[in-house]
């Protein structure tokens, strides 16, 4: 269930499903789509099942539209079903596929993206901070600016105050922990809105796990007070310059930062009628 041949089948399936649903009028409507769905899925899977090709590690996984330009890869996925610790006799256990994130976009970005990027670059050039923007990613109609962490406050100030940018509303910061993204394990993601221009962008900063410091933006967006506290609480990201960086959701004396990937989910096995189900993070699962 990967790679190219699948997509052709999918198109056919989609076309066929659409045709059939048009001329179908029987009363058993609710049950029919499910049946077809399964049949078609069956066909499409057996179609690819025969041509077992091992995708090379740099090949994009299923569903990712053919990426243009460079791709950012974060680690690899082993096997097809993600099981570990049990004997995978399917023969797919040796598969290795890359985790590929959307690539950096090339100019022109299209639409208002160019206006925003242009205005920001202009401001940065006048202050000799041209390398503050590491890359720009456009994916699914959303634009993300990857900003060098030491320049974050300056960039945020520009984004807020420049009249062509005017991102006056910050919806908060969210942390993401990528343990496999060596040297940039911890990311802080800010969602900014310009109510003046009705635009929305995302600013992303990354920092190594060994030095989890990011300049605080509370002085620019006071709303980030609790959001930065939450991100510190959950990821251990230290926002330098925050007025009172304490935990906000977990108890003050809690050890560790729960949203990090190396922090276990916890839980106990549940017993029911003699059987025992392990906690969710220890169950056999797909990846």
């Amino acid at each position: 269930m990967s790679d190219k041949p699948d997509e052709n089948v999918d198109e056919k399936v989609a076309g066929k499903a659409a045709d059939e649903s048009d001329d179908k009028t029987d009363s058993n409507e609710s049950a029919r789509p499910a049946e077809e769905r399964n049949l078609e899925k069956a066909k499409s899977e057996t179609g690819t099942g025969s041509g077992v090709e091992q995708p090379a590690p740099d090949q994009s996984p299923e569903n990712v539209p053919a990426p243009t330009g460079e791709v950012r890869a974060f680690g690899v996925r082993h096997g097809m079903f993600g099981t570990s610790g049990t004997g995978d006799t399917s023969g797919y256990g040796g598969l290795v596929s890359a985790k590929v994130f959307p690539a950096a976009a090339q100019k022109p970005y299209g639409g208002w993206f160019d206006e925003v990027a242009g205005a920001l670059e202009e401001r940065l050039e006048s202050t000799e901070l041209t390398s503050a923007i590491e890359s720009v990613v456009i994916h699914r109609g959303e634009i993300t600016f990857h900003v060098r962490r030491e320049d974050l406050p300056f960039v945020a100030q520009m984004l807020r105050d420049d009249e062509r940018l005017r991102f006056e509303f910050c919806a908060g910061v969210s942390g993401v922990h990528y343990p496999e993204d060596t040297g940039r394990e911890l990311h802080a993601v800010y969602q900014l809105t310009s109510m003046t221009h009705n635009r929305r962008i995302r600013v992303e900063v990354s920092t190594p796990d060994s030095d989890p410091h990011i300049p605080s933006l509370v002085s620019i967006y006071p709303t980030l007070d609790w959001h930065e506290r939450e991100t510190y609480d959950m990821f251990g990201l230290v926002f330098d310059g925050h007025p009172a960086l304490t935990r906000v959701l977990m108890p003050d004396d809690w050890p560790g930062h729960p949203q990090r990937k190396d922090y276990p989910l916890g839980g106990i096995p549940v017993e029911y009628k003699g059987g025992s189900i392990p906690p969710p993070d220890q169950r056999r699962s797909y990846n």
């Binding site: 399936v13 049946e35 049949l39 990712v64 985790k99 590929v100 969602q191 995302r202 967006y221 709303t223």
Partner: protein
């Protein structure tokens, strides 16, 4: 009880000064000993268990007499690690978790998460019309029920108990509709990636139409009871003041932002789920205070009712249309049907997978156990919840589970305004100010 030692202070806390522990029926001795002491400044811990703090919110108030000089919030008492848990479940199962966050607006939690997942799947344009309309219908009914609770509890906290009883009476009607449509009064997990879980049951549209007729009779009761009520106005007007600059700086959205006169409503400014096709007005007020927020909520219920009416009319013309995306790799295979023993899997579906098609069984099994894969990337699709901008930052690494799901909950953000809204005012106004924010601790703490 008056001592020099604070039994409730944690090790390391300051326990200097006189400590008063109120344990019931000892008010006289407390007031007497406070009167004896020369200190004017008192620090009061309100909550976390207090009927007027909307759940488990802890307020730390520093008082000079009855004037609040400093107000701080303590949150986190309801933290259940929903975001962490979602990372260990499939994309579809995630809905079951996030619906429990802000328990007064479950459909909004589901919708913002599902919209993010759909954007990553790139199927936003493939969602069937009926699913879109049903989502709007449920969200607007939910807005009514949520605003009813906001008004009801807000009224109760200032002593207007009738507002509470009639508020919950009407909310019950909405919950009955939810039960009819989704099977549950809350924790629905009804909006799924690709559409909604189930078609409307027979007779649902008639029930909703009856509800609309009834609400049109009952909503004016709130206006008659409160709008010009001198006590009500006296308690609300000018309380919890926050102007547009304050809202922008502190990131407040929803009724609080609209009470400054700024008509920012994501349903209009950045429409999703087909909101651009509905006729409604964004409600604003220009007083920046609790009274304005109350009136906005009241007016928004009327607007929601208008949207519900339009949605019902559209649904009447969509009978039998699909409620799930056509892509067989995403749509949940199992269909539900009502049997003699209640709701369960449709017998037709079970007959098909168990008796007719081995492949169908395999693929039912694969979708239910493994789920679908979502292309790597991140998405943020905010929606206008009853409390403001609610958004899910959804990150996928291309796997069958969310790599990270973070919810930007409006209650969490808006609660930061507590100190700005209540410092310098009377201690009784703290309650009114917080009620006007309408925080739901399930959403704050997640």
């Amino acid at each position: 009880m008056t001592t020099e030692q604070d039994f409730y202070a944690a090790p390391g806390d300051t326990s200097q000064g006189k400590v008063f522990t109120v344990s019931g029926q000892d008010w006289d001795s407390i007031t007497q000993s406070i009167g004896e002491s020369a200190e004017e400044r008192v620090v009061v811990n309100m909550g976390p268990q207090h009927p007027s703090t909307h759940g488990v919110l802890r307020l730390i108030l520093e008082l000079e007499g009855e004037t609040v000089t400093e107000a701080r919030c303590g949150v986190g008492y309801l933290h259940t690690g929903i975001e962490k848990n979602m990372e260990y479940r499939s994309w579809v199962q995630g809905v079951t978790f996030c619906t429990r966050m802000d328990y007064l607006s479950p459909f909004f939690n589901e919708a913002t998460y599902v919209l993010g997942v759909e954007r990553l799947l790139d199927i936003e344009d493939d969602i069937p019309e009926k699913a879109q309309v049903m989502r709007v219908l449920l969200m607007e009914l939910n807005r009514i029920s949520s605003h009813l609770v906001a008004i009801a509890t807000g009224g109760m906290e200032i002593g207007a108990l009738t507002v509470m009883t009639i508020g919950f009476r009407e909310r019950e009607l909405v919950l009955d509709l939810f039960e009819l449509i989704t099977g549950l009064r809350m924790n629905h997990a009804f909006i799924r990636p690709g559409g909604v879980a189930q078609d409307l049951p027979p007779g649902a549209l008639d029930e909703i139409r009856d509800f609309i007729v009834l609400m049109k009779k009952r909503l004016p009761e709130y206006a008659a009871l409160c709008n010009a009520n001198p006590i009500f106005k006296g308690r609300l007007e000018g309380v919890g003041h926050l102007d547009l600059a304050g809202c922008m700086a502190l990131g407040l959205t929803g009724p609080v932002l609209r009470s400054t006169g700024y008509a920012w409503d994501l349903r209009k400014t950045q429409p999703y789920s087909g909101y651009e096709d509905y006729d409604f007005e964004v409600q604003t007020w220009d007083t920046c205070d609790s009274y304005g927020r109350f009136r906005i909520r009241l007016n928004e219920m009327w607007e929601s009712l208008k949207i519900v009416e339009q949605a019902v009319d559209r649904l009447a013309g969509l009978e039998g249309a699909p409620v799930m995306v056509g892509d067989k790799k995403i749509a949940w295979p199992s269909q539900l049907a009502i049997g003699s023993d209640g709701m369960g899997n449709s017998l037709d579906h079970i007959r098909h997978i168990m008796g007719e098609s081995m492949e169908a069984l395999i693929h039912h099994f694969k979708l239910v156990t493994e789920g679908f894969r979502v292309p790597a990337g991140q998405a943020y699709v905010p929606i206008e919840s009853p409390r403001g901008e609610l958004g899910a930052h959804v990150v996928s690494d291309g796997g069958t589970r969310p790599f990270r799901a973070h919810f930007r909950d409006p209650s969490f953000t808006n609660l930061q305004a507590t100190s700005v809204m209540s410092e310098g005012g009377m201690v009784a106004d703290v309650i009114v100010a917080i009620a006007s924010i309408d925080p739901v601790m399930g959403g704050v703490d997640r």
